[in-house]
């Protein structure tokens, strides 16, 4: 076991051989509110490997959506990136002009949103919307239409030609989410961000959509960030996983490592409590007392200290850095540095 202390993902030192597509370093995001700033994301360091699926898990309110939105420049108006860089090619997405954002969105980065019922414009047909997003292509309308039909067929929408003239309200939720996936893939992005794309759907549909995503990801070879409440889904779909707690990534690594041998006490608790869904905040860890910390006043020391069964004196004093586990696994916990990571 390596006891090397890796301060914030210096990725060259990591044991994996994946090419990074996107590198997030020390990203911090504040939301300004009437009662002072909420430090919703703090020092997030993550790597999105090319052609792999990264799962983002954590209970409600831990900042998964905030992270996802900051990667496509769609954070709410009261949000501000206070620190860090997000590298994608030669760009730093944390400091990007509005014009450059428009160039990247729908070209290198695309997103699928949580609620398919409200994600499509209600007064434009599916076809119009699918042709709208091809505004960059210098091709005829007929060709754009053909692409739209083609991608609707890819996501297995029956009779795609006819569906082009449908309005969103004429389709079911599952069909609408398929349309959203088709639209995102149509732009051939390098990075596809999916923020809980199946939460609004029932279980059967969820399985179908997950399989579809996996299949199409392999076909197009893009990277995917998959936000989910559902540990089972993440285990099935993702290659890598990052576990978030109260605005921090507390553990990350390959799905194999983390599900086989969770290093962080929070991850361990998650997997023990409920390998299925971790939808609601505070409900999820019944065996561990304490609630989520107030993100207006982030406590010194470990963010998980109030609920950690293994808390010790140093945790109250010092914020743990990222420590390397077996291979690609890293966790923000003093225990790992001390070599007490449970086998």
């Amino acid at each position: 076991m390596s006891e090397q202390k890796l301060m914030h993902s210096s990725n060259a030192m990591r044991g994996d051989d994946h090419v990074p597509l996107m590198l997030i370093e020390e990203l911090s995001v504040d939301f300004s509110t009437a009662r002072g700033p909420i430090h919703a994301l703090r020092h997030i360091s993550l790597e999105v490997a090319a052609g792999r699926i990264l799962g983002l898990v954590g209970e409600s309110g831990c900042g998964k959506s905030s992270l996802a939105y900051s990667l496509i420049g769609l954070l709410a108006g009261n949000a501000r990136i206070t620190h860090g860089v997000i590298r994608l090619g030669d760009d730093d997405l944390a400091h990007l002009s509005a014009a450059r954002w428009r160039e990247l969105r729908g070209k290198r980065i695309a997103m699928i949103f949580q609620d398919p019922m409200t994600s499509l414009n209600p007064v434009r047909t599916i076809g119009q919307q699918m042709m709208d997003i091809q505004y960059r292509e210098r091709i005829t309308r007929a060709e754009k239409r053909k692409f739209a039909v083609d991608f609707l067929a890819q996501v297995r929408i029956p009779d795609p030609e006819a569906r082009l003239d449908s309005y969103p309200h004429e389709l079911s939720g599952g069909m609408r989410q398929r349309v959203c996936i088709a639209m995102a893939l149509l732009t051939r992005p390098d990075l596809l961000i999916a923020d809980e794309p199946t939460t609004a759907l029932d279980a059967t549909l969820e399985v179908q959509i997950i399989h579809l995503l996996r299949e199409l990801q392999q076909k197009f070879g893009c990277s995917v960030i998959f936000v989910s409440h559902h540990l089972g889904t993440v285990a099935e779909l993702c290659d890598d996983v990052a576990v978030m707690y109260a605005g921090e990534v507390v553990e990350q690594g390959s799905v194999d490592e983390i599900f086989r041998q969770p290093a962080h006490p929070y991850t361990q608790a998650l997997l023990e409590c409920d390998p299925g869904s971790i939808r609601e905040a505070t409900r999820i860890l019944p065996t561990i007392p304490g609630g989520l910390p107030d993100l207006r006043q982030v406590p010194t020391g470990c963010i998980f200290q109030d609920r950690c069964p293994q808390v010790f004196e140093r945790c109250r004093r010092e914020h743990p850095g990222f420590h390397l586990g077996e291979r690609t696994q890293m966790a923000r916990c003093h225990l790992i540095e001390q070599g007490e990571m449970t086998p």
Partner: protein
């Protein structure tokens, strides 16, 4: 869309029928016999009886209503007892003045209101937005007749820029005569519509589908035009449709103040003369126009938004 339009049209016809029935009923519920009222206190009983028969008031109520509908279908709204002219002639003679006045008022106020509302929403929080907010709320709270009085005092009496009396003759003169009354009627609608469009724009701008459009890098201008406006103007269109009734009542005051011919002026003078056939005819035509206006606004909304075509 055609199915919806047909349904909606039939509903409108039904509304007009119900409204007319209520109107005729009301005339009978009002204390006093119309014939006596028309002829005045000095009429002889024979004369009253004669008039009652002439007006069909001696027949049972249901028969009266059915006969009334029969006559309306033939475009016959009855005869004015004073002049002996057909009520329909009198009403349709005055109607164009009011229709033009209301149409011009709606047109300028809704165009300006929508532009102002969009602008405020897109620049929400700037001083221009604040200014437009203050002006809107200010003008909303001023009734049309007060506006009309001030408009006359300032622009016609003090400055003498614009005519204040009558409807004018010929196109240019008529247009000049329209400016002040249309201003007085429309000004509070500018504020109403601007506020409403601003609110719905802001709401739609925060909708998930707009965020999705942004996630594809569509330009803001395109998003506003193709994705937001068509949804955001709907409440304003509905408001205008139902607002035509208010516009008619505003027109009553404004026509009297500006001494313009029109339905409003006609109703006021007929009420003063207790001229029931004309009141009835004028109110009937007005009702039909108001119902037509809501029909038009509903159809416009249905054209803008496919979800509205689904059901009545």
């Amino acid at each position: 869309m055609i199915y919806y339009a047909t349904q909606r049209f039939l509903l409108s016809v039904l509304i007009v029928i119900v409204a007319i029935s209520l109107l005729t009923l009301m005339l009978h519920v009002v204390p006093g016999d119309p014939a006596t009222m028309i002829l005045g206190p000095r009429a002889t009983p024979e004369l009253i009886e004669q008039t009652r028969v002439a007006m069909g008031l001696d027949q049972p109520l249901p028969v009266q209503i059915v006969k009334f509908f029969g006559r309306i279908l033939h475009g016959d709204l009855g005869t004015d007892v004073f002049t002996g002219r057909a009520v329909s002639d009198i009403v349709f003679e005055q109607l164009p003045y009011t229709l033009v006045l209301i149409a011009v008022s709606i047109l300028w106020s809704s165009v300006l209101g929508i532009v102002l509302g969009c602008y405020s929403a897109l620049r929400a929080g700037t001083w221009l937005d604040t200014l437009s907010g203050i002006l809107s709320v200010g003008t909303i709270s001023i009734p049309a007749f007060v506006m009309a009085l001030y408009a006359v005092l300032i622009f016609a009496v003090s400055l003498g820029w614009l005519p204040a009396i009558g409807a004018g003759e010929g196109f240019f003169d008529s247009a000049m005569h329209l400016i002040l009354p249309a201003f007085a009627i429309g000004i509070s609608w500018v504020g109403y519509i601007a506020r409403m469009v601003r609110a719905s724009m802001l709401e739609v701008m925060g909708a998930p589908h707009v965020r999705m459009a942004r996630s594809f890098g569509l330009t803001e201008a395109r998003i506003v035009r193709a994705y937001i406006l068509r949804i955001a103007v709907q409440p304003a269109v509905t408001l205008l449709g139902t607002g035509v009734a208010h516009l008619f009542s505003a027109a009553v005051f404004v026509e009297v103040i500006f001494a313009r011919p029109g339905i409003g002026a006609l109703i006021v003078s007929s009420v003063n003369e207790r001229n029931y056939p004309i009141i009835l005819g004028a109110v009937l035509v007005t009702t039909a126009i108001i119902v037509l206006a809501t029909l038009l606004s509903d159809l416009t909304v249905a054209l803008l938004d496919p979800r509205q075509r689904e059901a009545l």
